[in-house]
C-alpha cells in the first residue's frame, strides 16, 4: 500500500518536474511544428554555433515555419521569403514589439536607456521612432552629405597612405569602422574623434555589446538559473561601464562646446537646447540603434 503511494508520489513528482522543465514564457502553438528538445535546455545545445545553418536543417524537416524551445523561451522561426513576408509585412501591426533579453536589457543597458530599435513597443518608442525618422529622412540625409564627403575622403586618404600608395597589401576593415563611427558621431554630437585609441575603444566596446545582444550567445537569457553565477554577467557589466565612460565623455564635450558657443548643429545638441524636442524621459541620453 505505502509502496504504491510512494510510486504515485514519485510519478507525480517526475511529471511535475518534467512539466516544469519544459515550460516556456509563451505557450506551445497548436498547428506549428515543434523541434523536439531536452528538458530545461530545449534546443539550446543543438542550435550550435551557426544558428542560420541549423535553422536551415530544421526547415528541411519541419517546413519553413516551426517553433523551437530555447531554455524557457519559445521562439517561432521563419525561413522562407513568403513566410517572412506574411508574418513581418502583412501582419506588421501585430509583430511590432521586441522581447526584453536579460543580458542586453538588464545588465548592459542599466545606465543607458534602451534604444529605439531594441525596446519593447510603447508610446514612448513610437514617439521617439517618429522623431528619429524625421532626422533620418531623405531630405535630412541630404543635409548630412558634407559629413560623408569628409569621412569618405579621410578613409581614402588613410587607405592610400597606410598602403604606401598601393605598395603594401592592406586590411580595409578598420577604415570602414572609423568611417561609420565618425559619421555617426558628427551627426549625433557635432564633432569627430581623431585619436586612434579612443576610436578603437568605442569600436571594440560596441562590438562586444553587439555580441551580448546575440540570439543565443547568452544562455543566461534563456536559463534564468545561470544569472546567479555567470562570468558573462561580469563581462556585460564591465562592458557597460566602459560604454558609460565614453558616452559621458561625448556628452560632456558637447556641453563644453555649447557653453563656449563653438558647437555644430547635431541631434543631441538640438535635444539639449530645446526641451520641447526632448525625445526621452531619460533626458539627453538619446541613443538610437536598430
Amino acid at each position: 500500500m505505502s509502496a504504491a503511494l510512494l510510486l504515485i508520489a514519485a510519478a507525480t513528482a517526475i511529471y511535475l518536474l518534467f512539466h516544469h522543465a519544459n515550460r516556456t514564457n509563451s505557450p506551445k502553438i497548436k498547428g506549428i511544428p515543434e523541434v523536439p528538445g531536452l528538458p530545461l535546455l530545449g534546443s539550446l545545445l543543438s542550435i550550435g554555433s551557426c544558428h542560420a545553418r541549423k535553422a536551415l536543417e530544421w526547415s528541411k524537416i519541419h517546413g519553413p515555419v516551426f517553433q523551437v524551445r530555447l531554455g524557457n523561451r519559445r521562439v517561432v522561426f521563419a525561413n522562407s521569403f513568403s513566410s517572412v513576408t506574411n508574418l513581418w509585412i502583412t501582419q506588421q501591426s501585430a509583430l511590432i514589439s521586441r522581447p526584453q533579453l536579460y543580458t542586453f536589457h538588464s545588465v548592459v543597458s542599466t545606465a543607458q536607456i534602451f534604444t529605439i530599435g531594441t525596446s519593447p513597443w510603447s508610446e514612448s518608442v513610437k514617439r521617439r521612432r517618429k522623431a528619429a525618422a524625421t532626422s533620418l529622412s531623405r531630405p535630412a540625409i541630404a543635409s548630412y552629405m558634407p559629413i560623408i564627403d569628409l569621412e569618405s575622403s579621410i578613409s581614402i586618404r588613410e587607405l592610400l597612405e597606410d598602403s604606401d600608395y598601393g605598395d603594401k597589401e592592406i586590411n580595409p576593415s578598420l577604415y570602414f569602422q572609423r568611417f561609420a563611427l565618425n559619421t555617426g558621431l558628427t551627426l549625433t554630437y557635432g564633432f569627430r574623434i581623431k585619436d586612434a585609441e579612443q576610436l578603437q575603444e568605442i569600436v571594440e566596446v560596441e562590438r562586444e555589446i553587439s555580441n551580448l545582444r546575440s540570439t543565443s550567445n547568452n544562455w543566461q537569457d534563456y536559463l534564468p538559473i545561470l544569472r546567479r553565477f555567470g562570468k558573462k554577467n561580469n563581462t556585460a557589466a564591465e562592458t557597460s561601464k566602459r560604454r558609460d565612460r565614453y558616452m559621458d565623455m561625448l556628452l560632456q564635450e558637447l556641453k563644453r562646446r555649447i557653453a563656449k558657443g563653438i558647437d555644430k548643429p547635431c541631434i543631441t545638441g538640438n535635444v539639449l537646447k530645446d526641451p520641447e524636442a526632448k525625445l526621452d524621459d531619460g533626458g539627453a541620453t538619446y541613443s538610437l540603434e536598430r
Binding site: I29, K30, I32, S49, C50, H51, A52, A55, L56, V65, V75, V76, F77, A78, N79, F81, S82, V84, T85, L87, W88, I89, Q91, S93, A94, L95, I96, S97, R98, G117, P120, L136, I141, P146, I148, S153, I156, L159, L160, S163, Y165, E169, I170, N171, P172, F176, F179, A180, T183, G184, L185, E206, R207, S210, N211, R213, T215, T268, L288, R290
Partner: protein, 237 residues
Amino acid sequence: MVSAGLDTVPGNFTMGLGYLSTPHGQEIQQKLYDEIMAVYPNNAWEVCLKEEKVPYLTAFVKETLRFWTVLPICLPRVNIKDMVYDGATIPAGTTFLMVVHPASSYLYIRAKKRQNAYAAAYDPTHFAEPHKFSPERYLVPIQGISHFAYGCGSRTCIGLNLANRELYTLFLRLIVAFRVFPAEREEDKPVIDALDCNKMMTGLTTDPKDFKVKLICRDRGMLEEWLKGSEERTKEL
C-alpha cells in the same frame, strides 16, 4: 546613435571590397568603373553627394546588402496581438526570428536536390541563383522587398536612408580612386561565404574575418585633386 550602423555598415564595405578583389570581382569593378564614367566622365567624386544615377552601382550596393545580410538572424520580435499563420493561431507575446541566410553552398546544393524551403534572402523561389553574387539581379524590377538587410515591416531599420547613402557614396569613391586586386598569399584572401566569413558565428552581426587587398591608385594626380576639393569643402566641419 553612436553604435547605430557601427557594426553593420562596415561589414558591407569590407565584404563588398573583398569581393571586388576576387576574379569575378575584377569583372564587376570594371563594369562599375565604366558605368560611373559613362554617367560622369570627370566629376563623379563630387556629384555622388547630390544624386544616385548609376543604376549598376545601386544594384551592386543592394546585392552586397542581400548577399552578406549582416544580421543573419535579425533582431527578435514579439507580437502584441494574436497572429494567424497557415491556420494556426500564434498567441500575443510569442518571440519570432527570421532566418535571413543559411548561405552555405553545400547546404544550398542539398536543399536544391530536396526541393526544400530555406531562408528568406536565399530563397530560390524568390531569387534566381541565390548563392551567386550578381548585381545584375537588381537591374530588373523585383517583386516585393529586395532584401532583408534592414529587416522588414514595422521595426525596419530606421537608419536605412543614411546607410544607403553612405554605401553608395563611399563605394563610388573607392571605385573611381582604386583598382582592387587580390592579396598574393592564399591565406590573405577573403572568405566570401556569407556565414563562414564571420569571425564569431554566434554574434548578432557579421564581423568579417581579416583579409587583405591591394589597392592601386587609378590616377594619383586626379585623386589628390579630388581629396583637396573635399578637404576644402568640409573645412568647417
